[in-house]
Symmetry: C2
Subunit: 697 residues, 2 copies
């Protein structure tokens, strides 16, 4: 298991060298020094330049080995061909970490790729952490350790705080940082990882997870080279109670990536990312705006315990709008308890009190009405979060004076309430109310989506700590290197809890007849060969075979195989009872290139082929997680008996999926894919009708 | 057909009276006068107050009948019990229009409802237009005709322009207006309609459609009392080429509204609103933010001719982000023609040229590169719209100077290009680029959604003018008042083009046997009675009847009816051939309480019951619209032969739906619902297996 690396020297360096330091304040080698002198950075800065005795007023050194002092971080700005040399020198000088701005490495190939591989070796041998190459670098506002050449400080400085921003793209990362600055969010640290020869996004998330100053983490991701480390980092963040808001791009490319098996083509990496994020408590955002909304909210607000939304509004229309959006995004708008409605009615007999509580426009003149409506909601409403719609009144100074009085007082009485106010107001008033833990939104629906995201953060944390132990898998259930035929694959899978019917292998026509008789007299017969994938195409499947027909069916199957698959090793004919009715489902495990064994479940036929209604989880997972996986399906009602069929035993199904995940994880390096298609789900636990295990190529 | 009313006197009054005028500048009766004096309004203002000779420095009149001058609009601010009296007086004084602020009318019931009904009568008799009661009123910035008591002018004035804002909610409307003001959008007029005793949202949209100053219309709707007028207004806007962006709330209440028939419960009003908006070219927005984004864009930008998106970016990551979102919202990101890629490569050999065109961060230092990349896209890219991602560079004054030079020049060369720039910059720079027809967004995905909305506007306009004539329906195909049995209903529907199999009615066992023989010897037999809905429940359906079984099946069916439905009028037994295979679909027409006859189509079984995958259109519509209706279904692949079945003849199906819509529209006042369930769709046009027509109750 690859563990995240310690980034302390990179993120909180006490001393910084700049290799390729420049006297030109706008050059890449000049900017970090200029910025750190302006900020200023409190520790020593060592410019490295063989041709200048002094850089921007600081004593310069010809070589980093000449400094003779401990160096936590060195910034490398020399052209690509010179980088390996200075990096080796830095390693000799015991520099603890590097940020390499220089580009033209693996991203251009050729020599660049060779150089990058050498950087990797140096990092591995020396333990020196390397951020980059081809990266926009790092920033830590608390100390003004500035390891970036971004020009963003030319138009403003971010303030220190609890938000840790990780990004694989420099330009997008700069956009995020400037957005955060403009919103007034405090930044703990910002790291743009570039080519990720060493330090990757997972290390950064892990750092944020253990760093006491980090409160909230955002990550912009394009890919993931080390999923184990990523999963470890996400689990660390969840255990530390640090919300992670992640923008993962690349979903639209996935469709193009053709994959070998049916399951694989469904397990398009993006759907797996989606599932993995949900599984490990990450909130996936779909725009940078969402990322900022949600990160900003998580910085100031407690997390809601559930999804019950209270609405207090000065406008009936806005109450309807909020109710609509709540339903869209899965928040409940429960009718308030009688005691809460009575409290509203006592203050405002004309008000709607059911929820939404419509305190009417009068409340913008008589603030006591707003206060009483809101307090009735908070005191008696039994809601987990509250949206307060005040329209455009925030631009009225007279009204804001009143609001600035009542809202802080209400916060004092209800320190744990999650409250969002939808109104138009000045930035100053917005920040004032935010400082009292209110979430201010111009667009109410965005505010609702933000609170829903906070609920998901909480659910993710809860999920991390819920009691969902992994079932045990027989330790000798091991996928062999050789290809298994259907019978052997079924035997292996039945040992880990997948129910198969009683099946027989017949090597002769007589054995086939005996098998049909023994199994009740009405059977399916299938060619048994690890080499034959599409049995029906060569006449290798016969249905409804009765004892008298067994011999001729056997002969026909063997003849078909001999004709159409002459080179296949045929192990005989598989005889099994005809399946009972139930819901046709499809189970599979795909050894995902990013996340490793990933279990897939869905209904068969049109559900998977037309509606693509399948659910994924990274293995291993417990039965509770498996149940959540099942419950994500849009076609869930079909399993619950929607069409008058017997309901499926979902608990048993979940346990089976969980056991399959444990087996798959234990055999992670031994298989490409496992397909159980179809699996007939039923009230009695169901039955599998096929088994294909593709070993590691 | 109810036609929209003329609102000229309400929206562009030349003279304004205020009934209940007040010297207190912050009272409802004082505010409009204060604001109009500040603005100022150029025409005469007549305060009406029996106790004051002068109001806010203006000569006051005791009664509106004393004014003796033409009055285009009178604002009514007196308490509810006094309103009817002053309104009658206004009608006597030939006032052309009224805005009634006063509340406590239909919304509280009792006397209020009676008064409101009297207002309706006065309006109808006098032709005096009434906006309200219980409304926030009107505003027209070009003349500063201010018929509102909103306090919003205390913190800023909107500027005149081309955006017409209509709202059924005062508070939400104020929110929208202040948002528009803060965004710097120019307002043509703003009307909040309140209780809509007379002037309604449809009148307002129709006014905007014909008003030469209106360029774009936004509407906030909670309901619709006169759908004919609404449809007329929407068609007028479409024909005038005025984009309408509509926020319709109330979707979440619909689920609760139980309805009698299966079709009715699916035709939840919100889904019908959705379909009607699409059908008549309205863009439905789902937040006020979206409304403002899209309205602002429509004010400055041309409309795209298609959905092909070009992306020019300084960051590869942002290009991926844009491609993802494009796929999500149905925009294409086509590979650029070779000539365009060559042009990019000629300027920047290192650039990605396929689309997205990644001009890299170098383009923010060398603006020529950005210009060349963008011109290659515009000149040779054959795209309909372009997104330009520039990250946070807009805060750099040095960079903005360069951008402010190249962008206006590019606009001059490509006056019709639809271009959005995603960047963070000052409001001043944003407005400067907007004045050159660029759409500026902080959040790129929002910018993409905005351009997609503009594409929908264009598609709506095109749809309005496309050649899609209604098929003719036989003029004597009329739904009778009496309940039809299945045979008669099928006869009627087959005359308008719904294919039914050859069917016979048998009154005796002998006739039943003869019918089965005549129809080929394998039939379904069903009890024939307009009074029996659930035939199977009483043993009224027999399948696979052969001639020898016909007599006993007949007797069994009749006996079942006699036992379980003794009071039903039985017309005999219906004999029909067993259906051939095909795709089971469900057709229906619901006489929607809002939009009248609305055709529904979807696949049967789980598709309708579990996935609710049905499509609606307001009748009547042509075959092209019917084809769009069919193509909206998620289960469309099932009709196209996804599961190896014969593809359905979609053209014939569309023609049938269109004919059904014409028939339904012609019979709008004669039926509640028409159900053809199932209809077996096939390559040969298909066959209907049931027919229920519920006449008007």
């Amino acid at each position: 298991m690859s563990q995240p690396r310690d980034l302390t020297a990179l993120i909180d360096p006490k001393s910084i060298a700049v290799i390729g330091a420049s006297n030109e304040p706008y050059k890449f080698g000049g900017r970090p020094i200029r910025y750190m002198k302006m900020a200023p950075f409190q520790g020593p800065i060592y410019p490295i330049n063989p041709r200048e005795p002094e850089i921007q007023g600081l004593k310069a050194y010809a070589d980093i080995r000449d400094v003779g002092q401990p160096i936590d971080m060195a910034i490398v700005t020399v052209p690509a061909p010179a980088v390996v040399g200075v990096v080796e020198a830095a390693a000799e000088a015991n520099v603890k970490s590097l940020v390499i701005f220089s580009s033209s490495f693996a991203e251009v190939g050729g020599d660049g790729a060779v150089w990058q591989e050498r950087l990797r070796q140096v990092s591995e041998e020396s333990g020196m952490r390397i951020c980059g190459p081809n990266c926009l670098g790092t920033l830590t506002p608390a100390t003004w350790a500035i390891g970036t050449f971004s020009s963003m400080f030319d138009h403003g400085w971010p303030k220190p705080g609890g938000l840790t921003i990780m990004t694989q793209s420099g330009a997008v990362g700069a956009h995020i940082l400037v957005q955060a600055r403009e919103l007034g969010l405090g930044i703990r640290t910002w790291v743009a990882t570039g080519n990720e020869v060493d330090v990757d996004i997972a290390d950064c998330i892990a750092y944020g997870a253990t760093d006491p100053e980090t409160k909230v983490i955002t990550a912009y991701m394009e890919g993931c080279k080390n999923p184990e480390r990523l999963i470890t980092a996400l689990k660390m963040a969840r255990e530390a109670g640090k919300p992670v808001f992640c923008m993962k791009v690349g979903s639209s490319e996935v469709g193009a990536a053709a994959a070998a098996t049916h399951t694989a083509s469904l397990a398009g990496a993006d759907a797996v990312f989606d599932a993995a994020f949900r599984q490990f408590g990450v909130v996936r955002v779909h725009s940078l705006e969402e990322m900022m909304d949600q990160a900003a909210a998580a910085l100031v607000s407690p997390l809601p315990k559930g999804r019950r939304l209270g609405i207090v509004t000065v406008s009936g229309g806005a109450g309807v709008m909020a109710s609509d959006e709540a339903e869209n995004i899965g928040l409940e708008v429960p009718e308030l308890p009688k005691i809460a409605q009575d409290a509203v009615k006592a203050a405002m007999p004309y008000a709607a009190a059911r929820n939404p509580v419509d305190v009417t426009a009068m409340a913008t003149n008589q603030f006591d009405l707003l206060r009483e409506g809101l307090e009735a909601m908070l005191e008696h409403g039994k809601v987990d979060m509250t949206m307060i719609f005040l329209s455009a009144v925030g631009f009225s100074e007279r009204i804001m004076e009143g609001l600035n009085e009542i809202f802080p007082a209400i916060r004092e009485r209800y320190p744990d309430a999650i409250m969002s106010i939808a109104m138009l107001c000045s930035d100053e008033n917005r920040r004032h109310l935010e400082s009292h833990g209110y979430l201010i939104c111009e667009e109410m629906n965005r505010g609702l989506r933000t609170m829903e995201a906070l609920a998901r953060v909480r659910e993710g944390f809860d999920r991390g700590s819920d009691d969902d132990p992994l079932p045990e898998a027989p330790s000798d259930a091991v996928i062999p290197e050789s290809l298994l035929n259907e019978f052997d694959a079924a035997q292996l899978l039945s040992r880990i809890g997948v129910p198969y019917p009683d099946m027989r292998v017949a090597a002769t026509a007589d054995e086939a007849r005996a098998a049909v008789e023994a199994l009740g007299g009405r059977c399916v017969m299938k060619i048994l060969s690890a080499d034959i994938q599409h049995k029906s195409d060569i006449g290798g499947v016969k249905l409804n075979v009765i004892p008298d027909g067994a011999a001729s069916a056997f002969e026909a199957i063997m003849a078909g195989a001999a004709e159409h698959a002459p080179s296949a090793t045929v192990d005989g004919v598989l005889v099994a009872p005809m399946a009972a009715s139930g819901v046709e489902t499809i189970l599979g495990v795909q050894n995902d290139p990013v996340f490793g064994p990933t279990v897939m479940f869905g209904l068969g036929g049109i559900f998977v082929e037309v509606f693509r209604d399948v659910s994924f989880r990274v293995a291993p997972f417990g039965p509770k997680e498996a149940m959540r996986m099942i419950r994500e399906l849009k076609s869930l009602p079909m399993l619950e008996g929607a069409r008058g069929t017997e309901p499926v035993d979902l608990e048993r199904l979940a346990l089976m999926l969980s056991k399959l995940s444990v087996f798959a994880a234990a055999n992670a390096d031994r298989f490409e894919s496992i397909d159980i298609n179809p699996f007939v789900a039923r009230g009695d636990g169901g039955v599998a009708l096929d088994a294909v295990i593709a070993p590691k190529a």
